[in-house]
Symmetry: C2
Subunit: 345 residues, 2 copies
């Protein structure tokens, strides 16, 4: 049924050490031996026992990917990119989610160590920076989206929101908007506050001092609640920048319910371009974050980090980009000319 290396060795008339060497593609093995061993391997459909192997060499063929919640559509394409890249190089992915739960987060770090992952990409800021050292001490490479200093075994991937934001601000300004507001992500979230800062700064420079600047969870209903507060102000804004597409969706829904017309009364700008965001009506203008690419780059960064152990990590930057979706009316006209369905993503 399940064969061992010894059985292969016997069949090939060599020692198990030789079989091991052949399978690990060590040099200095005669072509003849390789051939005999591989024939035996083939014949028995032999596969090495990974547990024994991991025990012997002290590491696994696993890479960790830590996210906060699997149901957040923001992550799915990152996972896909990371997994595909890992797969290409023959590695498996241990997917761990913190669910924003502290206890669970601790356990996640333990799992990573226990499973002797070679490296881990941390795609959530719900993991404290302090765990990075815990991991690198165990010789585990780390790639994080948090803005920490690069170090031995630590690289960072940064999403440059500025470019997309600047494009977006320029766009709304050129449309004549004069009063802007901001609904940023959660106050405690680092990425959220980076985006917020960039937004506020950018708007000010363009003479669009945003008011108010509020916060919201990354959930649709929170976005809805947040927008209601904004509407009650006397000098209501004509454009609202939202910290994520989910917040933007909530805002759109709440505006609809309040009898406002989007975008003619109030324009909404989101961030992320999450899957299916193109289906939202009224059309959602948003800033695209290239997620599959983020996943791929994260793995590539880890791979490089582990290959060049002597050096320290690097900083990778991924750019964002404004996506202008047509208003319903424009779209209808557009569609008539195109008479073609839109792509899935």
């Amino acid at each position: 049924m399940t064969h061992t290396m010894n059985e292969v060795a016997k069949l090939a008339k060599v020692s198990s050490a030789t079989v091991s060497r052949v399978l690990s593609k060590s040099p200095y093995i005669s072509a003849k031996t390789v051939e005999r061993v591989m024939a035996a391997v083939e014949k028995l459909s032999y596969r090495r026992n990974v547990h024994a192997r991991r025990l012997a060499i002290g590491k696994s063929d696993l890479f960790g990917l830590v996210i906060s919640e699997i149901t957040n559509p923001f992550f799915s394409e990152i996972i896909r990119g990371f997994q595909a890249a890992a797969w290409d190089r023959g590695f498996d992915v241990l997917l761990l989610n913190t669910e924003y739960d502290e206890k669970r987060t601790e356990a996640v770090v333990q799992k990573l160590i226990e499973n002797s992952v070679r490296g881990v990409a941390i795609v959530t800021s719900s993991l404290e920076d302090s765990v990075i050292a815990t991991l690198t001490d165990k010789n585990i490479g780390v790639v994080t989206f948090n803005p920490v200093p690069v170090d031995r075994l630590v690289s960072t991937v940064t999403i440059d929101y500025k470019r997309g934001l600047t494009q977006a601000i320029e766009h709304v300004a050129s449309l004549g908007h004069r009063r802007a507001a901001v609904i940023a992500g959660p106050q405690t979230n680092r990425t959220a506050s980076i985006i917020k800062q960039a937004l506020v700064e950018g708007l000010r420079q363009r003479g669009l001092d945003p008011d108010p600047v509020t916060h919201s969870d990354y959930h649709v209903d929170a976005g809805a609640t947040a927008v209601q507060a904004i509407l009650s102000a006397k000098d209501a804004p004509t454009v609202i920048f939202c910290g994520s597409d989910l917040i933007a969706m909530g805002a759109i829904l709440a505006l609809e319910e309040a009898g406002m017309n989007v975008p003619s009364d109030v324009s909404i700008v989101g961030i992320d371009d999450i899957p299916f965001s193109f289906l939202i009506r009224p059309a959602l203008t948003t800033i695209r974050v290239p997620r599959e690419e983020l996943g791929k780059i994260s793995f590539a960064a880890l791979d490089k980090l582990l290959k060049l152990k002597r050096q320290r990590g690097a900083e990778y930057v991924v750019e964002t980009e404004l996506v202008i979706r047509k208003s319903a009316a424009q779209e209808r006209k557009f569609a008539l000319r195109q008479k073609a369905p839109r792509p899935a993503r």
Copy 2:
């Protein structure tokens, strides 16, 4: 840094065998010994080496979850339910996706075996039934959504679409629809053809013989293409049942682009109630598949299967349910009363 069981044993002044027994909660250990050992474990922050453990006992603390594609929103809540349930019982999840690629699918099965998962839930029909035996031969429990006979180590989870479909058919019939059409999922997909059959049968029984009955991939653009063919017929249907929400979305988009009004010209019914489907405008009526529950049940089924090894598996059935979303017009009225008017378009 990383301690071994021997070090713990030394500190507790017992043998490593005893430490092992304490950690495995074997009975027949004196309370005193347990205390001493646990104190030593605590002091050293000791954790067992999982690789050594897996090698020694021949199995892992992993369960496999096989899906077809991570970016399909249909799966994310299943993953979540499964992972949460596994986590509760102290197990980890190895998430594997076939990406509909044959080679990759083979590799997935290998991975499951190599990692000595205790059980696996197969939530995709892109895995042949024949692999089930391959897995059970290795003593790996299998839960599948495919309609195979239950067996030793094999349980099935079935989604009962009939209930939701019957409700949906009754609903559209009561609204006065007389001409129905069907855009089923891919012809080669087993689930798709089960749904198709149930639909066609149910419609006929209600005197709504569907015409045409076509097929489409589970993608938005495919749905759009499919609906165009239907529209070109002379006796165009007034209601179209779609094999998934994604297909339904594509249909809605294509109808919009063709200048049709949904639902006053044509009604659309989807299946799944995927995340954020409530955001679609015009509102999408759909049949809800309780996905997180599916994930939880799948794990529970595996857990039970492995506990009662002597017996054979069981068949679990999960019911679906019609979700009626308000049409734009209805919504308008509804909203007016609520002092929150504003239809989507």
